[in-house]
Every structure is written in C-alpha cells, then in structure tokens.
C-alpha cells in the first residue's frame, strides 16, 4: 500500500518537525511551550524510528518508539511538577526570571 512513498519523504517530514521544535525552544519564553516543543522533537525522532523500522523490515524500531513514549511520559510528569514549583516560588513562569540557582 505505501510502497509508492519513499522513505526519504518521511525523513524530510521528521527533519522539518525536529527543526520546528528546535525553533520553538529557542524563540519562546513560556516554559510550557518550550516543553511542548521538546515533545514535538521527540515525536519527530519517533517518526524517523518507525520509518526506518518499516524500511528495514524489523520491528525493533517500533519497540524503541514504545520505550521513548514511556520515558517521555515520565519526563512530562516531572517537568510539569518542576514548573509548578517554580510558579509557586516566583509567582510567574517566565523563563527570563529563572536566573538564580538558589530560590
């Protein structure tokens, strides 16, 4: 069914999404949006994983995507907890205000 679509197209989409995620991390100052951009980059990597898994005909890539999803779920939980603590201490979550190591 999908033999008409070259692998490189999927990789191009993946690279585009990864670059968008990097741009989001660099230009936005809301830590929640920065975090979402990181999720976008993880998704781009996952897409490349599945495309390569399909290309080589082995399911190992899909297993790694499964692990990446689990780890990113844990990462999101901890990251959002940290953002909540920063908000509790500073009453704002602007990343420009996060300039001291000690609260």
């Amino acid at each position: 069914m999908s033999q008409t679509i070259p692998l490189s197209w999927y990789l191009a989409i993946s690279a585009l999404m990864f670059a968008m995620g990097t741009l989001g991390v660099l230009i936005r100052r809301n830590p929640l949006i920065i975090f979402m951009s990181i999720e976008l980059m993880l998704n781009a990597a996952n897409l490349a994983f599945v495309a390569f898994a399909r290309s080589f005909g082995v399911p190992t890539g899909q297993i790694f995507v499964f692990f990446v999803m689990t780890v990113s779920a844990a990462e999101v939980a901890v990251g959002l907890a940290l953002i909540i603590i920063i908000f509790r201490n500073k009453h704002s979550i602007d990343v420009d205000l996060m300039n001291s190591l000690k609260g």
């Binding site: 069914m1 999908s2 033999q3 008409t4 679509i5 070259p6 692998l7 490189s8 999927y10 990789l11 989409i13 690279a15 999404m17 990864f18 670059a19 968008m20 990097t22 741009l23 660099l26 230009i27 936005r28 100052r29 809301n30 929640l32 949006i33 975090f35 979402m36 951009s37 999720e39 976008l40 998704n43 897409l47 599945v50 495309a51 898994a53 399909r54 080589f56 005909g57 399911p59 899909q62 499964f66 692990f67 999803m69 689990t70 780890v71 990113s72 779920a73 844990a74 999101v76 939980a77 901890v78 959002l80 907890a81 953002i83 909540i84 603590i85 908000f87 509790r88 979550i93 602007d94």
Partner: protein
C-alpha cells in the same frame, strides 16, 4: 497520483502547519491544541507505515494522557498568556537562522546517506498486520523484557518523585 500519495501530502501539510501554529500562537491553550493535532497526524503516519500498535499508543499516551496533563497545568497556573517583549533583540532572527541551518544540515545528511531514490525496502512485509503485531509482542516480551520492566520502575520513580516535589512542607504558606 494514487490515494496513499494524496493522503501523505495532505497529512504532511497538516503536520507542518500545526507545528508552525505551535510556534506562533500567543495563547498557550491554542498551542497545546495545535500539538494534539500534530500528534494525531503523526499517528496516521504510523498507520501508513504499518505500525498500528504504535499509532494507537501515540493517540492514547501522547494525545490523551500527556496533553491532558499539559492542559491541566496550563489552566492550573493561569498562564494562558504571557506579557510580550523580548529581552534580547537579536534572539528571534538568530534562532530562525540557526533552525534553518539545522534543517538544511539534517535533510542534506539524510539524503546524502540514503540517496533520493531510497524506497521502503520490503513493502509487503507488514501487510499481514496480525502477524506483525505478534512479532512485536514476542520481541518485546522476550528480547526486550528487562528494558520493559525497567521502564515500569522508571514510571514508578517518576510518580513518587512528582508527589515528593509538589508536596508542601509543614508550615509552608500557600
């Protein structure tokens, strides 16, 4: 032009547009909704690539659990909008240039290694979806059993860590 090709082009356009929407939307809730759209598009890509289990996991874990958590925190903090204004005036143009360089590098390297003509090697491999799913499950629970169990411990550690982090100390205000 066949149906798969049209579907791919439309999905690619939606994925790119929703990624741009995530970058430019001022309201954080809209950004989260754009990201959910992007995740759904990627899930359909997974279906096109013959990975139905990963596609469903994408919808339930990413678009379901993780983004609900994001929306919950956005509304909990009331941080739908942040005041405008850049501290560093050259930050945005510099970031755009750097991201463009990254994109060109990535596409160049990938295409140089794979050639433009590289296609999906064995298109008939996972036509039998049930057999592919069985292969995946066998691999996950035999060869990758230890990593699988370690991720469950990782989730437990994350859960305990979040509870400890957000717990208020005794006598701490607010």
């Amino acid at each position: 032009m066949n149906l798969t090709l049209i579907l791919f082009v439309v999905l690619a356009a939606v994925a790119a547009t929703s990624a741009v929407g995530l970058l430019v939307s001022r309201n954080t809730v809209y950004a989260a909704l754009f990201l959910i759209l992007n995740f759904a598009t990627v899930a359909v890509f997974y279906l096109l690539l013959g990975a139905p289990f990963i596609a469903l996991a994408q919808v339930t874990i990413y678009a379901g659990a993780i983004m609900v958590l994001f929306l919950f925190v956005i509304m909990l903090l009331g941080s739908e909008r942040l005041p405008k204004g850049q501290v560093l005036p050259w930050q945005r143009p510099m970031a755009i240039v750097l991201a463009a360089v990254l994109l060109v590098e990535a596409v160049f390297l990938l295409f140089q290694r794979l050639q433009l003509t590289a296609t999906l090697a064995n298109p008939e491999a996972s036509v039998n979806t049930t057999a592919a799913l069985q292969d995946l499950a066998k691999m996950l629970f035999n060869q990758y059993l230890l990593p699988f169990e370690v991720t469950s411990v990782l989730l437990l550690v994350a859960m305990v860590g979040v509870i400890v982090l957000t717990k208020k100390e005794k006598g701490e205000p607010g």
